[in-house]
Each structure stands twice: as C-alpha cells, then as structure tokens.
Point group: C2
Chain length 428, copies 2
C-alpha cells in the first residue's frame, strides 16, 4: 500500500482549486491517514493561463478532460467540472472505461445518469464516490451508505440548497419580499447562472434523488422527484407560519410508502423549535431516520471551496485506503426501479387563498374542502381594505390528491380570486 | 467476497440483544449492502438461561468470552460486555492474538488501553472498530476518521452523556434542584450503577479522549482529560445563565494549542441559540471543526439498544466490505504522546460567589480579580435576606490559571463565604 495514489483532476473552479490547496497544505497528514501519499499527476480545465493563485507547475496539463481521464499515469479521475452532459459525462465514462476509480462532486450527472454509470463502474470493478455532490462538507453519503448500513431507512429529509434557505430566512429577518431578496442573492453571487436550479428546487432535487437511491436500494430517478420551488412563498406566508410556530423551508423528503417511493422537494412548514426549523442562512441540514438508529441530524456548510474540497478529499482518502463499496451502497444490478408515489403520506396543509369579499364566499370554499373529505383545523380571514379577502386555512391530515381535488373545485365556486398556495406541514 | 462473515458476540445485554435483533430482522438487506451474508456463529454472556426474548438456539454458546474470542469459526469478535478491565480486556486481547477483527462499544476499554490494543491489532494486521463507543448511533468516529480525513481538525466538542443533559435540561424546565432531578434520573434507570461515571463526567471523558486521539493523531490519554462533573450546578446558575442568553451543558472540548493538547469535560455556558444550546434531554451532539470543512454538527440518540446496535452493525458491515483502516485513523505507531495543556485557550468565565454582606466585600473580590489580570464584564449582587450576599460575575477573556490564582486569593479576603463556582463560557 505504499505506492502513491495518483489523481487526475478535471475542473479548476472553486472546488478544484480548493481541493488542490488542501492537498498541497497537508500532504503528510493526509498520507498518514490514507496510508500512502496522494499525488496530483495531471489536471485539466478550460483555460490554462488563468491565474488561480496556486502553483500548478508540477502537474501535467491536458486541454481535454476525456484525455486526462484515460491517462496511464492516473489511478483516480476527479471530476469537478459539473453539468449532467457534455465533458463531465464523457470524461467520467472514459475514466471508467480506462479502469480508473472516479470521485465527483457532480450531483446533476449522477442524478440523471447514475444508474448506467454505476453499472459500468461495477462491471469494470471500479468505484464512483460522490460525497461532495450532496450537502457539501457534511458526510451524509458516508453516514447513510456506511454508518447506517445496518438500518432499514424509513425517511430521509433535508434542507440542501443554501441559497433557498438564505432567501427564506432573510425574507423573514429583514421583512423583505421574495423578489427583493432574490435580487440581493443574485448580486451576492449566491445564485447559479440559471437561478431556477436553486429557487426551482432542481439542484436540491438532484441531491434528494441520490440520497433516496442509497436509502431505499432504488435506481436513482430524478424524474420521479416532485419539484416545487420557493417562488410563490410570500412574506405573509412566512409571517403566518411563524405565528403558528412554524418555519418555511425548501425541504426534501424521501420515504417508502405502500404505494411506492415518495420523493418531494418543495416548500414545507416545519416546527420552529425543530433542528430544521432553527436552521438559518446558507447552512445545510440532513435528517436520516432508520429503524434502529432513530433520527440522526447532520448540519454543516453545503457549499464553498473548503467544505466541498473536504468531501472530495475524504472520498480520495477512502480510495487510497482501499475502501471499495458499490456506488449506491449495494450492487447496481440489485437496485430496483421503484414506482413513484406522489405525496402519498397524509399530512396537514397550510392553504392561502384570496376570496371575493361577498356573502357565502367562505362557506363555498369550506364546502369544497368538505366534499374532498378534508376537515379544517384552523381558519383566519384578515382585515382587508378592498374586495379581495385574504384567507388562511390549516387543514387536518389529508392526502395531496384530495387537496388537489378541492383546489380544482375552488375554481367552480367563482369566489377564489387567485391560485391558492398550498404548503405541506411536515412532521419532523 | 461471497463467503459469509462470521461473528462471535460477547455480552447479551441491551446492546448485544439489540444487535442480534437487527441482524435477525434484516439479513437480506444487510447482505446486499455488505456484499456477503453476516452470520452469528457463537455467543457468550454471564447467564445462558435468562430469557432475552430472542431465539438464540442457532448459535454456539461459550461460557467464557475469552474462549469465544479465539474460536476458529469466527472472523470478528464483537465485544459488548463493557468495563475497562477483566473479561472485556482479556477477550479483546485474545481475539487479536487469534487473528480476529474486533468491533466494540467499549469506551472505557479503549480510552484506557486503546494505544496498546491498537498497536497489537496493527501488528496482527487486524482492525478494531468502535463507532458505538462514542455518541451511540451518531456516525461520529466515521465522520472524523474518514469523512473529514482531508482536514486538519481544529476543535472537537460534544455533549456526549445523555443523562447529564437530561438532568440539566430537566432542572431548567421543571425548576427543580439538582438533588431532586438526580434522584428522578436514578429511579428512571438513567444512571450507571456508579453514578459518578455519568454526573462526574467520566463516561463522557472516555468518549472525548477517543475523539481527541483521532482528531489530533494523539495516543489516547484519558488521564489527561480535565474532568469536572455537574454536581455543583445549581438551579440558580441555570437561571442566571438563561438570563444572559446561555445554557449550561456538560461539554467536552478537545483542541490543539501552542502549549499542548487541551482536553476538557466540564460544565460550560454556551449560547442558548446555538445547536448545542438548543439540545434538550438525553440527545447527544458532536461538533467537528476542520480547516477545510468549517463546522459540522451531528445530533442523535447517544444510547439505547437500537442506536448503539446501529453503530455496531455499521462497523461489522464495513469489515464485511473490506474497509480496513487503523484504529485511530492513522497507524498506531505514528500516534504521538501529546503534552497536556490545561484550559490554555482564554475564555470568559461565569463566577458565582457568596460574600459576607459587609462594606468593602465586593471591592476586595474585584481587587483580587484585577491583581490576576482579570477584568470584569458584568457583575450582579442579588437581593438577600441574611448576611450571605450572592454575587455573580462574568469576566472578560482570561486563562483558567489566572482565574484559579484569583480564586485562591479570594480566600485571603476573608469575605468569600463558600467555594466559588466557575464555569467557562465556550464560544461555539
């Protein structure tokens, strides 16, 4: 085991440079822990000349990441380019074909192509590790795949997009509307080039799909994730939730139900006093529940050079130590294609409507709910100056299907003035 | 890798039975994840006839755990007896000598004999894994040894004795004095047979010593842990702390300083709004800080059959998968004997005194503090009916040594009526 482990690193953005810095800073510490030296053999990025504030002169350069992936002088291909298609996919496939282990931070790639990539790696006797793809520096993949491997996992939850949590908590603390805080986040550089990846829940949905695959022995299936972004959340929703002892979070939930695997990434109300409810700013939190372990909560930075590099380095050290486990925790050939269940587990819902202020309006809405079998836990109508009356309803436990039926029936009442906002209240 | 992994389990108490139940409940799930079946070959406990509510008829029985440890038909010796000496130690040594890997939940054994056991295992090419020894079901050893292996660890903290946290949070919520809640905890069966293991900080100190060894590449050294129990904490201290925005926790802190490795397990004030401050009841929390990852917080059940069995099962599955890392994360021969530094990092302190109610008393105390270079941040003297005046002082940052000097000088003032209580305010 004394032969060095040689890396080929593709992608020299924030994470790639963070990793190189970490490897350059602590070579002896890392070698002591890994049982062998870890060396960077070659690197690749779009621009060779860019000043990255790092001495890269000792490493071979490849313009083409696919060529890098197949180099004879590397053992592990470290993919830090991002994107589900193009170079990242081609180079990862090339690495496996060339007999390299792969470490990646690429959630989109694995959420979309994880199953064929895992099959290919397995057939080649190689491993793919991706701790950095989910919740940055938090060792959540490791905890789920290894630490909790003796458990039947019952539920996985998480706040896994720091930008969304920043926006929601900043709206509350500063009393600002969504559009204004969104713009603030954009100017601070917190948003992806396509902001919908963040606020639309796509990025966090990729992460949830990966956790669900491991937790439930499922073929990763991002298309089955029910996605709902935070764009319709108003400051009023946040205030009303707070009044009732809740916080609004973009929460991912994956659980196995009698009707299939439920995967949701959507705004939810969670108790203000719960660890999830108390989570402020850009921090991530993942909650893992198993039949033996009960509930485990993991909290930390979900992004940034250091935390992400920490996760990538952990994966590399595992490979150096000879830890070789299947990509999703069990052989890819044994992962099942799961039936998708949409919000099958009943829950109470928070419902915000705008009603025409005329006699009988509220009764019509209440009747529509009743006809879908939904009973009302609390209801408030606010003081209002014009003909539009804001109404807030908290239901008793119901299914999403029943709620959708009621919402469809609202249209026929002729008194509901805008699209109702429905937010699930999740028991955490 | 298709040959089953065969276990010999010594100790059939809460954890042993929990493990067997877990292995009996999910054999296929565990085999899929481990890559091979995990079988119980033989078991051992004090009493063979006791009804444990489990079918143990398929397993070979040994009266003597040392004989069990050396059986030819086991690959892994699972030590769940507890205790730092006697059978647990003898059987663990016998297992290593017989070429078995070891999984243990025994914090006392490893905190006291960890270094020679790790050396012996290493020489024999065997592994010792002990996730269950620290913070029950929380994968903290794994997170620190593997997930954060690319980091220089800067600090490790934790609330790792659920009984103490139960007592402290129950004192606060019910407004009851220590003695009463202690008695309550005893009747609920929360306390060890020797309660000082819990309330004296010894049990939690064992856990801290194990984390410190991994975090700082140190030879485990329980004797170097500065221990202070919760017995001197009054309901008044809890209330005063709360008034100032703090909670009192039995907090373990390990950090490397210029003067050596600091390991403390003692009551500390932590901000009420921090994750540690918000921790209620018997739950455990560990905070890991590294130069790349920043701060990671892990929370979960620290004890009980299920959580502890979950951790033991995770270790067994790792061994089944062929994960073989050194006991303390790097070769035992490379672990350094660290110099111990007592509370070397300056911090503010909370100080509670009882003064004789006579002119100049407060001035004498303030002068004693000043002469030790300690400045006062806030001071309160309470309304009181008799000659004993309760006084509360919060200092600016100071060293423990300066504070002890000042406290020694208090005796000479002739106005301090009882032993002062000093509680560190930890920045978390």
């Amino acid at each position: 085991m004394s032969k060095p482990l040689r890396l080929g690193i593709a992608g020299l953005g924030t994470v790639g440079c963070g990793l190189i810095r970490q490897l350059q800073t602590h070579p002896d510490l890392i070698a002591a822990r890994a049982g062998r030296a870890i060396e960077i053999a070659a690197i690749s990025a779009r621009s060779r000349d860019k000043d990255r504030g790092l001495d890269l002169s000792a490493y071979e350069w490849e313009d083409d990441p696919v060529a890098l992936a197949a180099r004879a002088d590397i053992d592990v291909f470290v993919e830090l380019m991002g994107g589900s298609e193009g170079s990242a996919k081609a180079a990862t496939e090339a690495a496996i074909a060339a007999g390299k282990d792969v470490v990646t931070a690429n959630k989109a790639l694995l959420a979309i192509h994880g199953q064929p990539l895992a099959l290919a790696a397995e057939a080649a006797g190689k491993v793919i590790r991706f701790e950095a793809a989910v919740a940055g520096g938090i060792p959540v993949i490791k905890s789920l795949t290894e630490g909790l491997a003796g458990n039947q996992i019952t539920r996985v939850m998480g706040v896994m997009n720091g930008t969304c949590n920043y926006i929601l908590t900043r709206m509350e603390s500063a009393g600002l509307p969504y559009a204004e805080v969104f713009e603030e986040a954009r100017q601070l550089g917190y948003l992806e080039a396509d902001p919908n990846l963040d606020v639309g829940g796509i990025d966090a949905g990729h992460k949830l799909a990966l956790l669900a695959a491991i937790a439930f022995g499922a073929q990763v299936d991002f298309d089955a994730v029910e996605l709902e972004g935070i764009g319709s959340i108003t400051i009023e929703d946040i205030r009303q939730a707070d009044d009732m002892g809740y916080k609004i979070k973009l929460l991912g939930v994956a659980q196995m139900t009698g009707r299939g695997l439920e995967q949701r990434m959507s705004p939810c109300l969670v108790p203000a006093t719960s660890p999830l409810g108390q989570l402020q700013g850009g921090t991530n939190m993942v909650v893992l529940e198993g039949d033996a372990v009960g509930q485990i909560v993991l909290r930390g930075a979900g992004a940034g050079a250091g935390p992400t590099a920490s996760a990538v380095a952990g994966d590399i050290i595992d490979i150096a130590r000879g830890f070789r486990a299947p990509t999703f925790g069990q052989p890819a050939t044994s992962l099942r294609k799961m039936r998708a269940a949409r919000a099958a587990v009943p829950a109470p819902y928070y419902l915000r409507l705008t009603l025409q202020d005329k006699p009988g309006a509220l009764a019509k809405v209440a009747r529509a709910l009743g006809e879908s079998g939904i009973s009302i836990n609390r209801m408030r109508q606010y003081d209002h100056a014009d003909v539009a009356a804001p109404v807030l309803i908290v239901t008793h436990k119901t299914t999403r299907a029943a709620l959708d039926e009621a919402i469809a029936a609202f249209a026929e009442t002729g008194v509901v003035m805008s699209d109702p906002v429905a937010i699930r209240i999740e028991a955490v």
